[in-house]
């Protein structure tokens, strides 16, 4: 329980040592992140990092449920998509026949509230199931949502969706300018990260991890297992909602495909490739995903292959990671570190 913040650390790593070694690296990283606009171009800021932070947030909400709650939910992209849709429906957009054009201080909170309510409701259904069935029920609802948005024109404007959905001009700043958007997504990502770390160490988070490890014992101890799980869905939905709103602002548009099944699976892939054991995993996974989907065609071209085979490369890469390292990239890293640290004799504990 003492190392709850790191979810399930491998047995080999001592709690104090790991934490003590992190801060310098984290400081360097933070400084790098803050100064990024000084040396990166607009594309890197807006697309590579902006998109990484957004996908990272949505995948983080999945990591929270899967890593701390033991519930692999595929609904997170759908919750994000719904929040994005709601901003477009309630607020101003280029699709004037549907959009209500309400001001930002109504449409953003309303979007988050409704999407969170939806995510919690799905959670309430999903917690009745376990393991593979949780994956299936959330996948089914995600598919139903996708097809519904594609067929419904009165609310979701069907196949075309909404265009020209942009963030409000607050404090005289155009938040879609690359530097502003970079800091906006960075800020949101950091807040979400901090929130997840904080909640994971709070009594609620600790109880949730207890439920994950042994639901029956927790119930016997007087914890309401079902409510802990449903609340976890609610909390994850808040993070996913903000991610979804940022996503629609980044693309300036939303259509059914934004939360289609490939996108839903992508979020799972991102979270798993990054690693489900620590909240930084989803961001690592998102960064890899964004780099691959942005530059895979260039890499293929450089290798003299046709650019249309990049799906194969991505698929093989993903397959290799999940086949050889169930904990994702983070797991690989931790195992490498553990191996370095554990160069001691297993019998005497003395360095070899």
């Amino acid at each position: 329980m003492a190392v709850a913040g790191e979810a399930r650390l491998p047995a080999g790593s001592a709690s104090g040592g790991w934490l003590a070694r992190v801060p310098p690296a984290l400081w360097v990283l933070a400084l790098l992140a803050l100064l990024m606009p000084a040396f990166a171009n607009n594309f890197i800021l807006f697309q590579v990092f902006g998109w990484t932070f957004i996908l990272g947030m949505i995948a983080l909400s999945l990591m929270f449920l899967a890593g701390y709650g033991g519930m692999v939910s595929l609904i997170q992209m759908t919750v994000a998509g719904l929040a994005g849709y709601l901003v477009a429906i309630l607020g101003p957009s280029g699709t004037e026949q549907v959009s209500l054009g309400l001001p930002w201080w109504i449409n953003i909170p309303a979007a988050v509230l409704i999407a969170t309510f939806f995510g919690t409701l799905v959670g309430a259904l999903a917690v009745r199931t376990e393991g593979i069935y949780t994956i299936m029920i959330t996948l089914a609802i995600a598919a139903a949502f996708f097809y519904f948005t594609r067929q419904n024109y009165t609310i979701f404007n069907g196949y075309s969706g909404f265009s020209l959905v942009v963030p409000p001009q607050l404090f005289g700043i155009d938040w879609r300018q690359p530097v502003a958007f970079y800091y906006l997504t960075l800020g949101c990502a950091l807040l979400s990260y901090a929130a997840v770390v904080y909640v994971a160490r709070s009594p609620f988070g600790l109880a949730l991890q207890g439920v994950r490890d042994n639901a029956r014992r927790m119930a016997a101890l007087g914890y309401n297992v079902v409510w802990h799980r449903i609340l976890a869905y609610g909390f994850a939905a808040v993070i996913a909602s903000f991610g979804g709103i940022l996503l629609v602002w980044q693309n300036a548009q939303i259509a059914p495909g934004t939360a289609g099944l490939p996108a839903v699976i992508d979020i799972l892939v991102i979270a798993v490739v990054g690693g489900l054991r620590h909240p930084v995993g989803p961001f690592i996974g998102a960064f890899i995903y964004v780099l691959l989907s942005s530059f895979a065609p260039d890499i293929l071209q450089a290798l003299g292959l046709a650019p249309d085979r990049f799906k194969l490369i991505v698929g093989i890469g993903f397959l290799a990671v999940v086949y050889f390292s169930p904990d994702g990239v983070l797991g690989l890293w931790e195992r490498a570190m553990a191996r370095r640290r554990n160069r001691t004799d297993p019998l005497t504990g003395l360095p070899r």
Binding site: R128, A140, I141, F148, V269, K311, L319, Y323
Partner: protein, 337 residues
């Protein structure tokens, strides 16, 4: 059945009434009042039959999936890829030899062999790790889909229908009565009727093998308690491989059937994977009768939806699945574990 009636008298009563009403709608000539509400009887009958025959195709594909899951707890999300591969190979065989029937054994053997490889290389190494199996098979399906696209391209393939399956036939179902008193019978595609018959034969055969033979006994024992069976020294790994091969081969054969009365193209793998998932979850994972019931419900929901509420017809199946999972997670005919 009697126990079920005692436990849920209202549900059973309602289900009985529903079945009776349905039977009346199918057999009796419709009075004008009913036609006014539901449109011509011909349309209704066609929707019901199309639903049943589509369900037959779903059953062929999903029964392998459910068997594999029931026995080994293996979540094979590459099942749709096996279907698609079977369809493509079936097309090549039928196209080159001109024999539609020859495609069946060839496809069955090739796809079953691939199934054996999958069982050895993937599933045996990660027994009991559901999430990892899910992810690895998702990765596999992405890779296989792109390989198939590379080989066969993005165009549609329709497997040549043999003459004895082409065209329509008259069914002994009256759609209307002419003013001169002559009954009008329903004309219906012959191939769909044969698919239904084939699915029933396969389903009954599977049931017989599972319930009446020694290997079936092993499978049932494995479904009930895998650890106990393994501990008793029986060749459980051999049973696993056989079942996996059979389930995979069935998916491949399903590809030929689907490619004959629909068509084969990229994306069909996902469609049939989703259909199999929905069918198996609605019916109950691991249960063959459950897969039959699930396939029937989903087939009917799709076709009746397409006729009476086309706009949202694609949403219904997923809502049914979500509802079943939420209120009866083990599926309609699944055993509670």
């Amino acid at each position: 059945m009697a126990a079920l009636a005692r436990a849920n008298p209202i549900v059973v009563l309602l289900a009985g009434l529903l079945v009776a009403a349905l039977l009346w709608l199918i057999i009796a000539p419709w009075p004008p009042g009913v036609t006014g509400v539901m449109g011509p009887k011909r349309v209704f009958l066609a929707a019901i039959l199309s639903g049943i025959t589509l369900g037959a195709l779903y059953f062929l594909v999903a029964s392998g999936f459910t068997l594999i899951f029931g026995l080994m707890r293996n979540v094979n999300l590459a099942h749709g890829s096996l279907y698609l591969l079977g369809g493509y190979i079936g097309f090549e065989v039928a196209d080159r030899t001109g024999s539609w029937l020859l495609a069946f054994p060839v496809v069955f053997i090739i796809v079953a062999a691939l199934g054996v490889v999958l069982q050895y290389v993937v599933f045996r190494r990660m027994e009991g790790e559901e999430l990892r199996q899910t992810l690895v098979t998702i990765g596999l399906s992405i890779v296989i889909a792109d390989l198939l696209l590379w080989i066969w391209g993005g165009k549609s393939y329709q497997i040549l229908t043999p003459d004895f399956l082409s065209g329509p036939m008259d069914l002994p179902l009256i759609t209307a009565v002419r003013s001169d008193g002559a009954a009008v019978y329903l004309r219906y595609p012959r191939v769909r009727i044969w698919i239904l018959i084939a699915a029933v034969v396969v389903g009954v055969a599977m049931w017989l093998v599972i319930n009446r033979t020694r290997i079936g006994m092993l499978i049932r024992a494995g479904v009930d308690d895998r650890e106990m069976l393994a501990a008793s020294g029986l060749p459980i790994q051999l049973v696993f491989v056989l079942v996996f091969a059979f389930g995979a081969g069935l998916a491949g054969v399903g590809g030929i059937v689907g490619g004959t009365f629909q068509s084969i193209s990229p994306g069909e793998d996902t469609r049939f994977l989703l259909a199999s998932l929905v069918v198996v979850i609605v019916g109950g994972m691991g249960s063959i009768p459950g897969a039959a019931l699930g396939a029937l419900i989903i087939g009917l929901a799709e076709q009746i939806g397409l006729v009476y509420a086309p706009t949202y017809s694609v949403v219904f199946t997923f809502l049914i699945m979500a509802a079943v999972l939420a209120f009866r997670p083990q599926g309609l005919l699944g055993a509670r574990r």
